[in-house]
Symmetry: C2
Subunit: 484 residues, 2 copies
Amino acid sequence: MILRGKYVVCRVIDDDTSEIIKDGAVFQRDGQIVEIGLYMDLKARHDPDEEIGGPDFVVIPGMVNAHHHMRLTPFQLGSLDMPLEPGIFAEWSSREVDPYLDTLWCVLQMIESGITTVMHNQAMVRTPSDLDFYDSNARIVDAYEDSGMRVAFSLYNRDLHFFTSQDDETFLDSLPPFLGDRSRKGMRSRPITLDDHLSASEKLIVNKASNRTRIFISPHNVHWCSYEYLLAIKDFASRHSTGLHIHLQETAYQKMYGDEHWGKTPLAHLKDLGFLGPDLSCAHGVWLTDSDIDLLAETGTAICHNPSSNLRLNSGIAPINRLLERGVNVAIGIDEAGINDDNDILQEMRLTQKIHREPGVGVASPSSHRVLDMATRNGAKVTFFGDEAGTLEVGKRADMVLLDLERISEPYLDPDTNIVDSVVYRGRGSDAKTVIVDGEVLLRDGVHTKFDRAEIGARIRESLSGPLSPAAAGRAKFNADLKP
Amino acid sequence: MILRGKYVVCRVIDDDTSEIIKDGAVFQRDGQIVEIGLYMDLKARHDPDEEIGGPDFVVIPGMVNAHHHMRLTPFQLGSLDMPLEPGIFAEWSSREVDPYLDTLWCVLQMIESGITTVMHNQAMVRTPSDLDFYDSNARIVDAYEDSGMRVAFSLYNRDLHFFTSQDDETFLDSLPPFLGDRSRKGMRSRPITLDDHLSASEKLIVNKASNRTRIFISPHNVHWCSYEYLLAIKDFASRHSTGLHIHLQETAYQKMYGDEHWGKTPLAHLKDLGFLGPDLSCAHGVWLTDSDIDLLAETGTAICHNPSSNLRLNSGIAPINRLLERGVNVAIGIDEAGINDDNDILQEMRLTQKIHREPGVGVASPSSHRVLDMATRNGAKVTFFGDEAGTLEVGKRADMVLLDLERISEPYLDPDTNIVDSVVYRGRGSDAKTVIVDGEVLLRDGVHTKFDRAEIGARIRESLSGPLSPAAAGRAKFNADLKP
C-alpha cells in the first residue's frame, strides 16, 4: 500500500524542525513501513495493491492519547464540570453504560481525530453487572481489539481514603449517623483488594496482551495508596516487565497532602519508595515543584499532560515549559473528554501549544514541532509502543493519519508555512480522513471500516433510554444526601 | 416565518437560569419578532410562509463577535504567533488582500458559526491601492452590507510612537543609520492625521450608517495617542452620538507605560480625560488592577474579552471572574482568528468558560448562562444593537441561530441537562445550520444564501497566487532588517 501526501511528516527533529518529504509517500507491506520517499520514486519502484491519499493530503504519524478513561463523558451522563474532589463523588452516581459499547464509541471518536494509540486507565468498580473484575474489564480490552486501535490498558485501585483525602473513619464520624452507617456498610461490604487488582491484571496480561495491546498496572494516586500497596504494584510491574501509570499532583490539595503527611511532595515520596523510572508515567503533574521536575528528569519518569481536563476540573495549568526545558518526556492526554467534550486530539494539541504562552516577549513555550512530538513519539514511548509507532521510519509499523490539507489551508495559506505549523495551528479532528494502524485501514474517507457509527450510537441511546436502575437511583440519592 | 426548536433559548436571566421554551418557536414578520411560545400554539395561530427548524434543533439569539479585525489571519499570511509588540512589525509586511474579498471570507466564516453582529475595528493604512481612506474602508463596510450581517465599524489610528512604545526619534536614533533614515522617510512621507481619521469616519457615518451598520470611532490604544487626540476622538463620538472602542492594557508593557508616563494605569488616565462611560468598550483589558475594575464598574465602561488572542499573543489571562463579580459588562471577541484560526464563536465561548477556572474548590467562574449572555446580550450592547438584538423578545429584530441538537447530543445526553450547558460545553461552529439576521436567512442548512463560498475562496486564492508585489517585498525586506 502506498500512502501519498503533498507532505509526509516523518518525525520531529527539534523545536524548529521536522523531517518532511514534499510530494512524498510511504510504502508499507503487511503493516511494516518498507520505504519512505518521493511519491514518484516509490510509485515507480513498487506495485501497490492500493494507493491512498494524494496531493491534497498531509501524512503524519498516528497520534497517541496518553491518558484516558473510558466512558461517555461525565457531562453526557449529567454532571457539570466541577473540581476533582467533589467530582469523584458525582461520578459514583452516574448511569451504568455497557462497557463494551461505551469503549467502542470513545474509540470511534478517537480514531476520527487521528488517534491510533491510547493509554486507557480504568477504575476497578463493582457494579451489579460485573461477574468478576477480569470479565468486566476484558470486555473493554475486547472493544480495543475489535477496533484495531493500540492500547496500553491499566486497572487502577487504591487502599486508603476511600471517600476523601483523610482517614475514612474520621470522615465517616463527621457525617450524620444515618449517612455514616450507610457509607460504612457500602465501603466494607464489597472492598476491592490488592489481590483483586493483581489477579485481574495478571489474567489480563496472560489472556489479552498482544501486538496492539499492552497491559499496565496503576495505583490510583499517591495519597490514596499505602506504602505496601505501592510497593506491591511496583513489584508486579517489575515481574511482568510492564508499565506503571499513576495520577500525580493533579490538584493543589494533593500536593498539600504530601506536605502534611510526609513532609515532602507525593513525587518525592514515590522517589523514596523506588517507584520512579522510565517505566512510570504520571498523569497531570499540575502542582510540580522545581525539585520535582529535577526528580522527573533524573529518573526518566514521564508526564502525561492533560490541559483541557486541568482547566475543566479547576486543577490549574501544569508547568510544561519548565518540564520541556529540563528534557522531561511529556506526552498529551485527553483524559476522558477534552475541552470540547469530543475526544479531539488536534484540539488538545493546539490547547497545549497556546495555554503555555506565558505573558511577555521572549518566553519559551511549545513550538508546533514540539507539540507534535509530544502527541506522537513521546506518547508512543509512555505506552511502550515506541519501537513500533510514534514516527514514520523504515522498519516501524504503519500507524499513520492522512489529514485534509485543502480544508486546513482554505482559502489560502502562505506557501512558505511549515506544514507542522499548519497542522497544529489549524487542524481539526474532522480533517483526519484516513487512519491506519499496523497497516490496517480503520477510517477511510472519514468512514469507519469496522463499525457502523450510527448503529453503535443508536445502541448506546437505546441502552440508556429507560429509567435509572434501582441501584443507580439509590447511588444518586446517597450522593445527593452526602454532597452537603 | 416560524423558527422551531426542541428548545428556544430566549434570554439569560442569571448565572444559573435562562428563559427557555421547550418545544418552542419564534414567529417573525418582516424581521420583527411577533410572538414566542409553544410551537403548537404558534403553528395554530399563524399561517407562516415558511417554517425552519424542528425538534432536532435549538434556537438561540444570534451571537456577537465584540472585537475583531478583518483579514485572512496573520498565520494564513505567513506569520507565526508572537507577542503583540514584535507582531505589529510582522504584520506590516504581510501581503495585501483585496479588502472586500478579505472581509467577505471572514464574514462567511463568522456566519457559519452563528455570529450575526461584529465589532470591526479597522486600522487606517496607506497602501498603493488606497485611493483615499474613505473609499478603501467603505469597501469593507460594503462587504458587510452585501452579506447582511450587522456591524459596528470603527477606524483606528494613533499619533504617538509609531514604531514602539517610546518616542520615535529616540527609537530611530538607536537604529543603524540606513535603517533610521529609511524609517524616518516612511514615517514622514505619508502620515495619517487626526483629520484623515475624523473626516473618513464622518463620511462613513453620513454614507454608510444604516439599520444594520453603526459607525464607531477608535483611538488605537492609550499609550499611542496624545491627550489632544483622545479628546478630539471623544468629542467626535459625542457630536455624532456614537460608540468608542479602544485597545486597553492588552500587555504588561502597556500597563508599565502608564506607570512610567502618568504614574497611573492607562485606564485611570482615560478616566481623568473624561473618556470613560457606557459608550466606550475596551478590547482585552488583560492587565487591569482592582481599582481599574472599580473604575469600569462605576462608569459603565465595557470590556471586550479575547481569550484566544490573549493566549496566542502571550498577553496573559484577563481577570474576568473579578470583572463579572463587579458587574462590569463583558462581551466576547475573537480578535481576528480565535484559538483555531477559524473564527468560531462557540469555541471562543467555551474557552471563555474553561480558562477562568482558577484552581481549587469553590472558586466562581463563568457559568454557561453567563457565557451565552456575554456572547449575545452584552455584545449587542457594546455594538449599540442592544435594542434590536442580543435576546429573543417580542418587538426585537429577528437575529437568531438554529443549532443541530442531534449532533450536539450524540450519541446520548442526559435528558436533565440544561440546553444552555449543552450548547456551551459541546457546540461547534459547524453545528450552526441556519443563521438569520433581521429576519433574513443568511445561512440555510449550512449553505450560504447570498454567496458561493467556494467561489469567494477561489477568488482570494487567485488574487494571492502571484509573486509578492514590489511594495510588499520591499516592506518584507525592511522588516527583516528592522527585526533584530
